[in-house]
């Protein structure tokens, strides 16, 4: 009895300490031999860094010999449980999910995040204008509306544009409703509706089977989108008539945190073909190399994804201002033809997000 009372007070303190350190939606669940820590941590890109940081923050706490188990949430959805120490993966139990359902308060348990997100497009190679760039600063946020359901929206502040004829007035940033769920262990579904990057708007559906303790994962990505453009304070849209549908399989090699991914199907602009990716995860940074072969053409290129420095800029009880946790940039060797192109949603796609949760990455 005294232990439970003590734990109640202790749990409250821990939840508060973690919240102050940037963790949100923090809940502690005491079991017979374990203490489970549910949390969402949006500052770091890599969940193993978040767990490592939490472990350091909780290092001086006395848990009466119980083992800490971390349950990271992504977009208000629990991904899996990771046992303190080596962060070995364990599937979430029904009990864990029931507990989370009862404790989860989508709106109240989060701060309002204001995210700084530079948006850069560049084109090299033209004789007259060798280096054309378009630089915008996007200020956006994600608001949690219900379990797994969030709204991302913001404004675009144009800074420089020598790439196209879009004017420099303030614009609405990609704005979408997003729903993430894990209906069965290892099976993830992501639904998005709204406006996306690459001037697209419409519907996007992703399914992925990616158990964090398996080197294999499979996915389907599909979307029905149209072209969308804002200029001089006006919106222009084309019909929703471009369908893309891609299936992929990914395998994580046993060394060097390398993954190989093969995708095939109909890409954006009804371009049928295939793409092969080699992706290396360094921790905060991912670097990938790819080759594509489609009806439009053949190309190679690379992509970078990393958290922007400094991360947290300002944090209070209700508000956090920070730089984007995942800035992604892709460079294609042929810069004109849109070979095997997809649009960016405004958040990592399921494959890129779930790769971070593979327990082999954390070890």
């Amino acid at each position: 009895m005294t232990f439970f009372l003590a734990l109640g007070i202790q749990a409250q303190n821990i939840e508060e300490n973690l919240f102050n350190a940037g963790y949100e939606n923090v809940h502690l669940k005491a079991g017979k031999d374990t203490i489970k820590v549910f949390f969402e941590h949006r500052e770091f890109r890599n969940p193993f860094h978040s767990m490592e940081y939490a472990a350091l923050l909780l290092a001086d706490e006395d848990f009466d010999g119980k083992i800490l188990v971390y349950i990271p949430l992504y977009h208000n959805t629990p991904i899996g449980s990771y046992i303190g120490g080596d962060f070995d993966f364990k599937t979430l139990s029904d009990e864990d999910l029931t507990f989370y359902k009862a404790e989860n308060h989508p709106f109240n348990d989060y701060r309002f995040h204001l995210r700084l997100n530079p948006d850069i497009a560049a084109r090299f190679g033209y004789f007259e204008h060798p280096f054309e760039t378009k630089i915008n600063l996007i200020l956006d946020t994600r608001i949690y509306l219900a379990r797994g359901l969030s709204l991302q929206t913001g404004i675009i502040v144009p800074i420089e544009n020598s790439l196209d004829n879009q004017d420099k007035s303030l614009r609405l940033a990609p704005t979408m409703l997003h729903y993430l769920m894990q209906p069965l262990s290892g099976h993830f579904i992501g639904l998005s509706a709204g406006s996306f990057y690459s001037d697209r708007y419409g519907l996007d559906v992703q399914y992925r089977y990616a158990p964090p303790d398996s080197p294999w994962s499979f996915g389907l990505e599909s979307g029905l989108t149209g072209y969308h453009w804002q200029n001089a304070g006006k919106f222009y849209t084309s019909d929703l008539n471009d369908l893309y549908a891609i299936a992929d399989v990914e395998y994580r090699l046993t060394f060097d945190d390398l993954s190989i991914r093969l995708s095939a199907g109909q890409f954006l602009f009804e371009d049928v073909g295939a793409r092969a990716d080699l992706i290396k995860q360094y921790g905060v940074v991912d670097i990938g190399l790819y080759a594509s072969l489609t009806e439009i053409g053949t190309t190679m290129g690379f992509q970078f994804a990393f958290s922007l420095f400094p991360g947290k800029i300002l944090r209070g009880k209700k508000l956090e201002i920070r730089t984007i946790e995942e800035f992604r940039w892709e460079y294609s060797y042929n810069n004109e033809e849109p070979v095997a192109r997809k649009y960016r949603l405004g958040m990592p796609r399921l494959a890129d997000m779930l790769r971070q949760y593979n327990s082999d990455f954390g070890n």
Partner: protein, 270 residues
């Protein structure tokens, strides 16, 4: 906005750790213009800039423009993607020409054998075939051995560059695979013989932060020196045949760093 990026770059620089990279003008491990079989594993991201005097660009990379306009700048990025594969990306820019950004070069290095006390390291360098203008393409096998003596280290490199190149007859061809053709470099790049045949070089490092270099790149004999200014920054100055001066500056960064907040917290615990 630009200031923000430079600020980020400067901050990233301060997290640099010691690398042993001595690079060539394309930003990959090498002596001056030749590649070596050295391998950089601690700082897998390298960014470099090289200046090549106009008199020597045509000898290495075929150009049809007048020599007075051929001053060449190389902007290079190299990435250690795996423990056995590096990727290098270079943009060749000729600032005196209104020719755009210039040629882009993507190539790979594969480590076949790792250096040990007795064994040299061996690296295979490959430029993916298929460019319609393969002026920077080169494929080679290179061997490097570091010999430690009481007066310093001697880094000795020898290699062989392929005189052939696989290129694409038409640019932007619909039938990519059917247009591939194998040809002698000397034929499509009339008379320039950079890295075709046997090349070699020696760097003598009396101290661990610098050394002197001499090399033969199959067209010219070059000599120079390099110095590690900070752990993450190196400067290399050299001459082509003792006639024209040139330089390369390279910065190396680690990629396995932790997030800022976590790093600060760990520091506060020490």
């Amino acid at each position: 906005m630009k200031a923000y990026f430079y600020a980020c770059l400067v901050v990233i620089c301060f997290y640099g750790v010691a690398g042993n990279a001595q690079v060539n003008f394309l930003g990959k491990p090498g002596h001056i213009t030749i590649p070596s079989a050295e391998w950089e594993s601690k700082t897998p991201l390298g960014a470099s800039f090289s200046y090549i005097p106009r008199e020597y660009t045509n000898g290495m990379f075929f150009t049809s423009t007048p020599m007075e306009q051929n001053t060449l700048h190389f902007y290079n990025i190299s990435i250690g993607l795996t423990s056995f594969m590096d990727v290098n990306f270079s943009i060749a820019h000729r600032p005196l020409l209104s020719y755009g950004i210039g040629d882009r070069q993507l190539d790979f290095r594969f480590r076949l054998i790792q250096e040990t006390r007795l064994r040299p390291s061996i690296v295979l360098g490959i430029t993916p075939p298929g460019s319609s203008s393969p002026v920077l393409s080169h494929d080679y096998l290179v061997v490097t051995k570091n010999i430690n003596t009481s007066i310093g280290t001697f880094r000795i490199t020898g290699g062989y560059g392929s005189p052939y190149v696989i290129f694409n007859k038409k640019s932007n061809s619909q039938n990519f695979w059917q247009e591939l053709k194998i040809e002698k470099k000397a034929v499509i790049r009339s008379g320039n013989n950079y890295l075709t045949g046997i090349f070699g070089g020696i760097t003598y490092l009396p101290v661990d932060f610098g050394g002197v270099i001499i090399e033969y790149n199959t067209t010219t004999i070059n000599a120079g020196a390099f110095v590690k200014l900070w752990d993450w920054l190196q400067l290399q100055g050299y001459t082509y045949e003792g006639k024209k001066a040139a330089f390369t500056i390279v910065a190396n960064f680690p990629l396995n760093f932790k997030p800022n907040t976590l790093r600060k917290h760990e520091k506060s615990l020490d």
